[in-house]
Symmetry: C2
Subunit: 206 residues, 2 copies
C-alpha cells in the first residue's frame, strides 16, 4: 500500500495524485496543513515538505522523483518515455512547470489565498498574471497540434494539469488566443484523473 | 559535438562538466557572464539560464535533465542506476544538492562574491553557514560508510562535488566531525573530473 503525505491544494501533491490515478495505483492520502510541519513528514524527509510518498521501506520526498519512481517501479514508460529525446522533452516540460510556471503563479495565489479581496495588492496580481501569460505563450508554441505535452499523457501533463488547475481556481484562466492550450486543458479535464485528484478544498470546476 | 553554454563558477554548470568528464564526452564550452543573458541561450531556452547543453537538434536547459540525457543517451546507468530504489536514492540526493544545499550556501556566496571583505554582513554569513552545517550533518548520515552517494560515482556525486567545491572556495570547509564526508570529498578530489571541471575563475585547491 502506498501512502501519500500531502496538502490537497499543493500543486506538487496534486501532480502526484494525478500520476497515481493515471497509473491506477491505490494509495492512502494523509493530509497535512499549510504552514504546519507534520511530525511524520519531518521524520521521513530532510526538507520537511510535502509531498512524501511512502512505499514499504522507501520514502520519496521530491515530487518529480516520485513520478520517476512510480513510472519505473510500476508502469515502465507510461509517464516518462524511454527514447532519450522524447524523455528529455517530458522532463524539461515537467521542470518548466515545477519551477517557471510555479514562480509565475506564486504571487497571485499567495495574494488571493491569504487576504480578503479588498486587501489584495492588484499590482502584485497583475505582475504575476503577466508572467503566467508569458509561460502560456511559450507552452502554446510547445504543444502545437500535439494531443499532449508528451507523446501520450506524460509526467509533464500531470505537472501542467495541476498548475493550470491552480490558475483557474484563482481566476487566471487560459486566454482565448491560446487555442491549443484550451483544447489540451479541456481534454485533461475529461480524464478520470482530473476528477479523482481535484483538490477537495476547491470549488469543483469544468 | 556537444556544446555547453555555461558559467565556470555556476554550481549547476560545474555539475554538468563533472558528468561530461566522468563519461569521457568531448564538449565545447561557451562561457557566459554573471548577470548577462546570452543571446544564444535566450534563443535556446525559455528560462534564459545556463547551463544549456546542445547536442545536434536538441537543446537541454535544466542541469538534472542534462544528466539524465547524457546517461540515457551515452552511458546507460553510469550516473543514474536502473534499479528503482537505487535510482530514487541518487535522484533524491541530486535534488537535495540542487535545492536545499544550494539555498543553504546561496547567501554566503552572494555576500562574499559581491562585496569587499569589510562590507560583508557577518550575520548573513553565519546563518548561511549554520544551514550548510545542517545539510552536512544529514549528508554525513546518508553516506555512512559507502564509497559514494550512489552505488558508484553517480549524478548525486556530480552535484554534491560541485557544491562542496563552491563551499570550500568560499571558506566553508567540511568540519572535522564529518569524517565520512571528508573521506568522500578527498576521494572526489582525486578524480580526473575534479581537475578537468574545476572552475577556471577559482584558485585551485586540493
Amino acid at each position: 500500500m502506498l501512502t501519500l503525505y500531502q496538502r490537497t491544494d499543493c500543486p506538487f501533491c496534486w501532480k502526484v495524485r494525478i500520476a497515481l490515478t493515471e497509473l491506477s495505483l491505490e494509495y492512502e492520502a494523509v493530509d497535512t496543513r499549510l504552514g504546519e510541519k507534520h511530525a511524520e513528514v519531518l521524520r521521513l524527509s530532510p526538507t520537511g515538505n510535502v509531498p512524501v510518498l511512502v512505499d514499504g521501506d522507501i520514502a520519496i520526498w521530491e515530487s518529480s522523483v516520485i513520478l520517476d519512481y512510480l513510472d519505473h517501479r510500476y508502469a515502465l514508460g507510461r509517464l516518462i518515455p524511454f527514447e532519450p529525446v522524447a524523455e528529455t522533452r517530458v522532463r524539461l516540460l515537467q521542470a518548466y512547470s515545477d519551477k517557471t510556471v510555479g514562480i509565475s503563479l506564486r504571487d497571485l495565489v499567495f495574494e488571493k489565498r491569504s487576504k480578503p479581496k479588498h486587501e489584495w495588492d492588484n499590482d502584485v496580481i497583475r505582475q504575476s498574471e503577466e508572467k503566467w501569460a508569458t509561460c502560456q505563450a511559450w507552452l502554446e508554441s510547445e504543444i502545437g497540434n500535439r494531443e499532449f505535452f508528451g507523446d501520450r499523457f506524460s509526467a509533464a501533463d500531470c505537472a501542467l494539469a495541476a498548475r493550470f488547475g491552480i490558475a483557474e481556481a484563482y481566476g487566471a484562466e487560459v486566454p482565448a488566443e491560446c487555442v491549443e492550450l484550451r483544447r489540451w486543458f479541456l481534454s485533461v479535464k475529461a480524464r478520470r484523473s482530473w476528477r479523482d485528484a481535484y483538490p477537495t478544498s476547491f470549488i469543483r470546476t469544468g
